[in-house]
Amino acid sequence: MVDLESIKQLIDMMVSNDVMEVTMKKGDEEISLKRPGPAVAPVIHAPHPAPAPGPAPVLTSLTEAPSPPVSDDSHLIKITSPMVGKFYASPSPGAAAFVKVGSEIHPDTVVCIIEAMKVFNEIKAEVHGVVEKIYVGNEQAVEYGQPLLGLRRP
């Protein structure tokens, strides 16, 4: 059924004519195309739906955060901050980081320390995976739910 060339042409027509949605059914065949609205790239549903992105950090002008994870990180497992505080990548100044890109980690692996109210909290991975992204710089402030690491399945 999926005639890619036809779909490509359909999408072109949608984009150039500002069409938001096309649905076609015939028997048990169905094609559905949707675009979010004017001036935005078409999102094609089916075959594989994209997972919802994790919570994006709001306004962190205080913390000079690197750019938040964008959609191409969506396949990664995120370890998020369970509290508000200051992120430490290593157990003490000058020491090696708990994890780096490529580290394979296990649920019990300590991945960072978050300091809140003078208490240093070791944060464990709780999952198994290989570190592919580290979103937060050393000594940066983090909020609840903020992605710290992105892992791929080992």
């Binding site: 709001v58 306004l59 913390t63 508000v84 402030a141 909020e143 609840y144 739910g145 903020q146």
Partner: protein
């Protein structure tokens, strides 16, 4: 003055504090639960930090997370709003330990006035009338009659171990006293295995009248007149107004001066509200002090042109009062209605959900404090207040009409709100006459 204030609250009061900060050129830090990510205070704050999940005990009730947020954001003060941690003395202690100013009274003052017995002692010391009572349990039935005589009828018999109305009796005159006490003791014994009772004057159909007080750390204490909050449903205030239609100028003077004396005696600093019950003969009795800003503070703001939040922040920063008692000029009449996302037809059950149409009222003499907007979602995790509508007019009758006008043009769809119920109160003859006691709504409108 503070450089950066963290607002440890949500909803309309977070927005209210944020507005005051902006007007004072103070930076703001909003903290929020995940449910409040798209809220107006989060959008408008200079900095915003997510502190936890949706349940208040995972976010707005977490002193540790709020203080950590203040630390990482460099806030030098925390405004607690009302509710949540606003009257939590331990939180005020923690702020002090972390060198963060708590915008409210000291933890000591909060504890002292938060305890009913201590507050009553302070009131007595300040020569502020309290509800007369036996000051402890009645040991011997021989003391009954003289004590009752001293208190004055009608009298309420209360079980010392009591609760839920059990062991309670109202005694209208002395002939009923011994019989009622016997019944009360039996009931208390049966319910609590404790037949100790005490006596208190019964205040029949009281008005709830409270006085707004401001105090600086230099020892100046002023009042900004009263608010009448007698329109209540199950002890939840629905409508507040000032001046109180129930009291005369002489009672007003005594009441307000009593509140000031009490705050002075407690060496209170910042803003508080002193609550009284007023009976039909205009006798008034202190009941409690609220050591925070209150939901209905805009009533006083419109009546007097004072800005209570800005003043509260100044006072917490150690500045002297910017207003002197003699410059407080109440004028006209102010009414506030609390618009809740509740369905009055179904026992006021909360109505969460998406607001598809939202058009607040405007025009002359109308103030709206709301965090809601078209397209926002009212979450089921928090209290149901979505807007306060406050009107200011030359007379009480004008104010009632202006409030009817404002509520009738207020569009909130499709969720149900208390607006239709407010309109019923506003057109009720007894409300229009100003004849409202705290039981009126339950007796007449439910």
């Amino acid at each position: 003055m503070f450089k950066r204030i963290l607002i440890a609250n949500r909803g309309e009061i977070a927005l209210r504090v944020l507005r005051a900060c902006r007007e004072m050129n103070i930076e703001t830090v909003a903290v929020f639960s995940e449910a409040d990510r798209d809220s107006v205070p989060v959008e408008l704050a200079d900095h915003a930090i997510c502190i936890g999940g949706n349940a208040p005990r995972e976010s707005y009730l977490r002193p540790d997370r709020i203080i950590a947020a203040a630390e990482v954001s460099g806030a030098d003060a925390i405004h607690p709003g009302y509710g949540f941690l606003a009257e939590n003395a331990q939180f005020a202690d923690m702020c002090r330990e972390c060198n963060i100013a708590f915008i409210g009274p000291s933890a000591e003052a909060m504890r002292m006035l938060g305890d009913k017995a201590t507050a009553r002692e302070i009131a007595k010391k300040a020569k502020v009338p309290v509800v007369p009572g036996s000051e402890g349990i009645i040991e011997s039935d021989e003391d009954l009659a003289p004590t009752a005589e001293k208190i004055g009828y009608p009298i309420m018999i209360k079980a010392s171990a009591g609760g839920g109305g059990r062991g309670m009796r109202i005694v209208r005159d002395r002939t009923e006293l011994h019989g009622m006490v016997k019944q009360a003791r039996q009931e208390a014994k049966a319910a609590f295995n404790n037949d100790a009772i005490y006596l208190e004057r019964f205040i029949d159909q009281p008005r709830h009248v409270e006085v707004q007080v401001l105090a600086d750390s230099q020892g100046h204490v002023i009042h900004l007149f009263e608010r009448d909050c007698s329109s209540q449903r199950r002890h939840q205030k629905l409508i507040e107004e000032s001046p109180s239609p129930a009291i005369d100028a002489r009672t007003r003077k005594y009441l307000c001066e009593s509140a000031v004396r009490l705050a002075k005696t407690a060496k209170y600093v910042t803003a508080c509200t002193v609550e009284f019950l007023v009976d039909s003969k205009l006798r008034y009795y202190f009941i409690e002090v609220n050591t925070r800003i209150q939901v209905e503070h805009p009533v006083t703001e419109m009546l007097t042109d004072a800005d209570l939040i800005r003043e509260q922040i100044r006072l917490a920063a150690g500045e002297p009062l910017s207003i002197a008692q003699k410059t407080v000029m109440p004028h006209g009449h102010v009414i506030e209605c609390r618009v809740n996302a509740e369905d009055p037809s179904y026992g006021f059950r909360p109505c969460a959900g998406l607001i598809e149409r939202f058009r607040p009222p405007g025009g002359p003499g109308v103030r709206v404090d709301t965090h809601a907007y078209q397209g926002c979602r009212i979450s089921p995790y928090y209290d149901s207040l979505i807007a306060k509508v406050i009107v200011h007019q030359p007379t009480r009758l004008d104010a009632i009409r202006a409030m009817q006008r404002a509520l009738r043009e207020f569009v909130i769809e499709p969720i149900k709100t208390t607006i239709p119920f407010h309109l019923r109160i506003l057109e009720h003859e007894r409300f229009v006459e100003g004849q409202v006691d705290t039981g009126f709504i339950e007796r007449s409108l439910l």
